[in-house]
């Protein structure tokens, strides 16, 4: 028995060793990618023959799914020779599977990749995405989109710089973080819609005194507080600094008096009981559902909540953005996930034509009709009334006249987590504002150093 055991282990050990030796180092088994920028490009794809275009998207929610289905059908109708093979999955699932999918031999042609450094940035650095500048010139994308939007899909060749360099993707929809409120509750408190952050602070205090929950926050997931801190930070810190911090580019610092003041303000709200009890242990969905059910006056969140909230609250729901101290508009926002072309795409002309089609001026109309916030032509497509009218107005104003600031978690591969955890600690009172900015600076500085 004993001898057998030893024999077996020797055998298994031998097999294991052989496997180890036979298997090459990870990441070296892939074929070299062809130089994607070489060769002629064309905007006419009617003569390419029968082609199947594989598209991975995350447009799974009601209105999102509707718009992409309509646009896909219209594209196939326009080009009968093209078949779209659509693979759609939820945001988190797409993010976790994309890394594996891109390195596969049968990689999809068009994928929606999140803008940040740990997704699009990593793919650009690994040469998995195709730069689109040549197509952008051919189709006139640089005129179609404002610079402030395109910077969030732009990286340098080695992805060390975010916001400058080559264009890698185009988004369909806009996003803006602002403040949802219940009109009847605000009226009941005898208050106007606060015009700036100072007035908003007073409104919160009045709401608290009246026994209401001033702000609903569900922060068990850690990221929701980023959307509260982002707009608050914009009240204290200059937009250029926030953009540098948010894109993980050098030239800014977290350890400034302004950032500390923003953190102090957020912590003061928590200490004064402006948030619901146990915000750190409340679900994100439970928080907006609580507002919809008539608990609470305000909710700081993204425009994507508008449709669901409006379903429950109807005309009682409003959306606004307070001005910063110097009278300008600045808040966290940006775009939906950009559509990109992979380096493995076999027919880039077809892929580019598809991206052009779903982001065209006509497409914006379909996007608006299905209840989404189109990234372009926002002002002219705005509905007449309802919360979506407010959302369109805020997005239009911020993206054209104000500053649309990046999501702060774009900054470094780990920043979403560092900031999310630090914000939970800040809200709980375990982290002083000074230590809060110190923790963020450590992550930012470490990344800058490693990024050269």
């Amino acid at each position: 028995m004993k001898r057998h055991t030893r024999l077996t282990s020797v055998a298994i050990g031998g097999v294991a060793l052989a496997l180890t030796l036979a298997a090459c180092a990870p990441g070296t088994g892939q074929a070299d990618k062809p130089d994607s920028q070489s060769g002629e490009i064309s905007t006419d794809i009617s003569g390419v023959g029968d082609v199947t275009l594989t598209v991975w998207d995350q447009e799974v929610r009601g209105g999102q799914n509707e718009q992409i289905e309509q646009l896909n059908a219209a594209f196939e109708k326009k080009y009968p020779n093209v078949t779209i093979d659509r693979v759609s999955q939820a945001f988190d699932d797409l993010n976790t599977t994309l890394r594996l999918a891109l390195t596969d031999k049968d990689a999809p042609d068009v994928v929606q990749a999140n803008n940040g450094r740990n997704t699009m940035g990593a793919f650009v650095a690994a040469d998995q995405l195709r730069p689109l500048d040549d197509y952008a010139d051919a189709y006139g994308w640089f005129d179609r989109y404002p610079e402030s939007i395109l910077q969030y899909s732009t990286y340098s060749d080695d992805a060390s710089v975010f916001g400058e360099g080559d264009l890698y993707g185009l988004p369909q929809v806009g996003e803006v973080v602002g403040i949802f409120y219940s009109k009847s509750k605000l009226e009941g408190l005898g208050l106007e819609v606060p015009s700036d952050w100072a007035a908003f602070g007073e409104a919160l205090s009045a709401a608290k005194a009246a026994g209401e929950i001033p702000v609903q926050l569900g922060n068990i997931e850690q990221w929701p507080a980023l959307h509260v801190f982002g707009p608050m930070q914009a009240d204290y810190v200059a937009p250029d600094d926030i953009i540098n911090l948010g894109l993980g580019n050098p030239g800014a610092s977290w350890e400034t008096a302004e950032n500390e003041k923003a953190a102090e303000a957020l912590q003061a709200w928590a200490n004064d009981g402006y948030f619901n009890d146990g915000a750190n242990g409340t679900d994100y969905d439970a928080a907006w559902q609580a507002l919809a059910a008539g608990n609470g006056v305000f909710l700081i969140g993204g425009s994507w909540l508008a449709a669901d909230l409006a379903d429950a609250m109807g005309d009682d729901l409003g959306f606004f953005l307070p001005q910063t101290a110097d009278g300008s508009l600045a808040t966290t926002g940006g775009t939906g996930l950009p559509f990109t072309i992979t380096s493995a795409a076999e027919n880039t002309d077809v892929a580019a034509a598809y991206i052009d089609f779903i982001t065209s001026d006509d497409a914006m109309e379909i996007i608006a009709e299905t209840g989404n916030l189109p990234v372009n032509r926002t002002a002219e497509l705005a509905p007449d009334s309802g919360v979506l009218a407010d959302v369109y107005t805020v997005f239009g104003d911020v993206s054209t006249d104000g500053s649309l600031l990046p999501y702060l978690d774009y900054a470094t591969p780990t920043f979403g987590e560092t900031l999310g955890q630090s914000l939970q600690n800040l809200i709980d009172g375990r982290l002083a504002p000074k230590d809060f900015v110190k923790a963020l600076e450590a992550d930012y500085a470490e990344f800058l150093e490693s990024n050269g």
């Binding site: 740990n118 850690q222 619901n276 242990g281 679900d283």
Partner: protein
Amino acid sequence: MANTETISRGASRRSGRDASRRSGRGSARRPGRSTRSWVPYAYLAPALVLYGLFLLVPLVRATQFSLFEWDGLGASTFVGFENYVAVFQDERLRSAFVHALVLVFFYAILPLCIGLVLAAILTRARVRGMGFFRTIIFLPQVIAMVVVAVTWRQIYAPDGPLNGLLRLVGLDNLTTAWLGDYTWTLPAVGLIGTWVSTGLVTVLLMAGMSRIPKELYEAARLDGAGPVREFFALTLPSIRGEITVALTLTIVAALKTFDLVYVTTGGGPGTSTTVPSYEVYRRAFELGEVGAAAAVGVTLTIIVFAINAVVNRIGDKS
């Protein structure tokens, strides 16, 4: 190797398969054995191939990955044992392993204590509808962990049933956001594990207790032993094998907890409930540090093996 063998030995004793194994070994010693020694391996081959393909190969690959710095996309760099050094230096990871050990208490020790009491009561009391109670106790084990986690997340919510119950009985000042409180979140998550494990442990122990000959109890009673003395002097030593099996299963479950933490807290608040398996996922899929993730995974595997080797060594000393 030694470890899996002791586990299977413990399990086989439970099902009384020891005898058949002994006779099998005897019959193998017939003449001509040496020329046909490959025959047993041929029988084993199908299972061995599957086991090898889906367990050994990934294990070896993961071990290999753990020696590289690799983002899952581009080329990799050989870094030797640097990833392992980082595992021990990273404070966040150290606390993740500590959290896993805390979970061992909630997944294994606590259910064992509860299970012993429950099993002793259920086997002694000749209640009607025994099957019903056994089913109820075992039920949590059957439900998918994600469903369990989603349900408990609702129960622990600030406006959830648990706080509702506390308010109902006037304990308002005990209410808290159970999954957002730095002190209570880890125990709260652990208690879900207790709820799940207790059923399995109880049913295992009951099977062991029902196997103890009635005569022994009669003898003990004649010698003047009360129920408590009877339990410690007779029941407990007799079910040593079952206790070992129960501990092995629940400790493994505790150390590799992922789904529960992923669904209920995502490692929060702050980093107060992060566990090694969650760190593996986070590194591999969110941060793109495949090598570091593999190193954590391999370390966790070694720890699981080591702890269970100790448990089985102690359990087998009879």
